[in-house]
Symmetry: C2
Subunit: 440 residues, 2 copies
């Protein structure tokens, strides 16, 4: 049994094989949907009391009141102080780079004035309050705290409230330390649909937020989908993906390990390599075979590569770019000479890693750009998480008296065409009666 | 029975009264959800044949094949040529202004280079294909075609496909003319959940799009919500809203008509006036009483004002701004002296109309900014429809060999802390062995 599929774009069954590889059953589990909806409803009705009940039931944390579920700032600070020096330095350096990159995303209010004095523009404001969900247990990643909280703070969000389940009362010090570095404002030891409900609707203890971001399990995802509209949410992420385009000159071990670094996330993660050189693909296959047994997460990698991975021989790098646009991957590595040339042909990808030194793992932690990226072909229409997700725009319209003469006539004509007479009358009231007869 | 509620922020029951006024039952109808899901599934399975069946059943249009449902460009052009001169001029002028405003929203790709040669940035690309839903019958607004299609074309979307139901085969020439002006690429005479399905999944005749925008009935909204993820969608709009802040010096008739212009949309539309001057509020009430009987849509206005409207006496304009932020209205008119001062205090609103001459109706048609705006308090976290809704970003990461030495160590430390050894190994491969011992 082969470790990873080998495909060739010249073969007749390439198209159906590629479709099969990309297919992912995204069916939602009805029972999860129902449970999650019930929890939302209950927390909306009973507030803190319901949150305490579910936390008792699901996390086995028996708190007497909500105050006992707030993780006080001194505990985050203690976690930060207790970090080994190298980890502390790495986390600080990563946070500084992420902050510096995201500062480039700051949008500015703009206006312009027309000849008749009318001013038009767009005002940028930050969201007031943001909720950040951080999973408990093994999927609790400090890097994810940085990637979600820092753009919110750069955007100017005044209150970032983090929620994170602590099954059995166990709190993750790396996550708390990252929260302290990222500038989180409050942390509650709650999780699941009950935490999403508390953030969306508010309770006596927890202020309702305007938007909820961060990854979570199926119950959390279902709850987020359901509260969308009451609050904003980020994308519901699918399994992580990497697509590597290689010209056949990067050391095969490097590329094999890049594929592993995606595959080790999850058995449903997807790692695909496109290369015109069959001999090179053989080399990467051999590297996979040789390196795999040494990996601590070999079982997950083996399952992911076997089920959803592929080494694909393409005719040339142009064809590789065309396939990349079709796949619209979350992560795209262009491991070639003059990578910027090929990057110019890419229209759809969450993040583009250019050159042999730009391994995707650098982007996951510390290059600067966000690691929360569109998956499952959604890069066709959506973007990495960024400062823009924590700001919104308001149109500015200041029509001058002179402007109202011109605009009033246009609006009135169109409003009457649509049968909206109050619109027309409201516009015409602003037309100066002395200009009425001469111009209308 | 009063035509519109009178409230005062000083009264004890103001808070519950305001909450009651803003409350809106957004319960989704289960039978609509189910019907819409069934139609999506059927079109996904049977393609064009299913679209033809539903169009026969719901629109009573018995087309022999899909070609018969495409509205050819010569028909739009004929509709445009047949427009009365004044309407044609108004539509052209509105389109030009909307285009010019939205050109200011163009985002640019940016990069920056760090001292060690590492390049970071963000690439902007347009969506490839966008679907535009335009309702049939009385809610078919040409202005809405302009507001949805123009930002997509300014963004650089290469194919905008419009769908619009034509019950009984009746096509709306104003809508076709607007499509011609706005630069729409193809038009199909189909609607409902079947049109959303065709756009989201594609059929033999209709190419799948990347995003679907535009208003529709409850079946269309349910279908859009369900295909979200496969394609992008715009916001699902609630009833339209206007909040007017007035200092008491704008002619009362103007303000009454501004309230009407929102109320005439829909019995659930919301029109609220905030003013510190009780005598002025009496004047607006009197104006409402006097002007209402003359309005062609008086019944709708009466229902909307009676159920969801209010004239609210505030202590001062500062309090008015605080309430406006709480309400986060779709449209906010600041009908005062020095409106820019008060606008500075507004954090949440879809569009801010400043000064006595900036009636909201001008923004609906021709001021330039988009009239597709966040409703139901979603201005707390979302924005007007814009060019940014038809573009997306890709992160650019080009790490230099020198950069990989620094970043590799940080990433490797953090990856090991998260138990992701392949990530760490992939980062460390890029560290030059000659620098390994001295710096690590």
């Amino acid at each position: 049994m082969s470790l990873i599929k080998r495909l060739n774009t010249l073969s007749n069954d390439f198209r159906p094989a590629l479709r099969g590889l990309l297919a992912l059953d995204a069916a939602q589990d009805e029972s999860i949907e129902r449970t999650s909806a019930d929890i939302l409803k209950d927390v909306r009705a009973r507030g803190d009391a319901a949150v305490l009940d579910y936390t008792r039931r699901f996390d086995h944390v028996d708190a007497p009141d909500m105050a006992a579920l707030e993780i006080p700032r001194r505990e985050w600070q203690a976690a930060l102080d207790a970090l080994p020096g190298e980890q502390r330095k790495a986390l600080d350096a990563a946070a500084a780079r992420v902050r510096s990159y995201h500062e480039h995303q700051q949008a500015q209010t703009w206006t312009y004035t027309e000849a008749d004095g009318t001013v038009l523009g767009q005002k940028i404001t930050a969201l007031d309050r943001v909720g950040l969900y951080v999973p408990g247990g093994k999927a609790a990643y400090p890097s994810s705290v940085l990637m979600n909280a820092i753009p919110a703070k750069v955007a100017g969000v005044s209150e970032v409230t983090m929620v994170t389940p602590t099954p059995g009362g166990v709190r993750n010090p790396m996550v708390l330390a990252a929260a302290a570095i990222a500038g989180v404002d409050r942390i509650w030891a709650i999780g699941g649909a009950q935490a999403i409900a508390a953030l969306a609707y508010g309770t006596a203890s927890i202020s309702a937020v305007d938007k909820i971001v961060g990854p979570g399990n199926a119950y959390v995802a279902a709850a987020k989908r359901r509260v969308y509209g009451t609050v904003g949410i980020d994308m519901i992420a699918g399994p992580s993906e990497i697509l590597v385009i290689c010209d056949g000159s990067t050391p095969a071990d490097w590329i094999a390990m890049d594929l592993f670094s995606q595959a080790e996330h999850d058995e449903l993660a997807q790692a695909i390599l496109l290369c015109p050189d069959a001999v090179y693909l053989d080399g990467v296959y051999a590297a996979i075979e040789r390196l795999l047994p040494g990996m601590p997460r070999a079982d997950i990698i083996r399952a992911s590569l076997g089920r959803r991975g592929a080494l694909i021989q393409v005719r040339d790098l142009d064809e590789a770019c065309a396939i990349a646009n079709e796949i619209s991957p979350e992560h795209l590595e262009i491991s070639t000479e003059r990578p910027e040339e090929w990057a110019g042909k890419i229209r759809h990808a969450g993040a583009i890693f250019m050159g042999r030194y730009s391994s995707e793992a650098l982007g996951d932690y510390c290059a600067g750009p966000n690691h929360v990226l569109p998956t499952s072909r959604t890069a066709r229409f959506s973007s990495p998480l960024g400062v823009y997700d924590f700001q919104k725009r308001s149109s500015l319209i200041q029509v001058s008296q002179a402007g109202a003469q011109t605009l009033g006539r246009i609006a009135s004509t169109l409003a009457l065409g649509e049968g909206l007479q109050a619109h027309a009358a409201s516009a015409r009231y602003r037309i100066d009666p002395t200009t009425e007869n001469t111009q209308s």
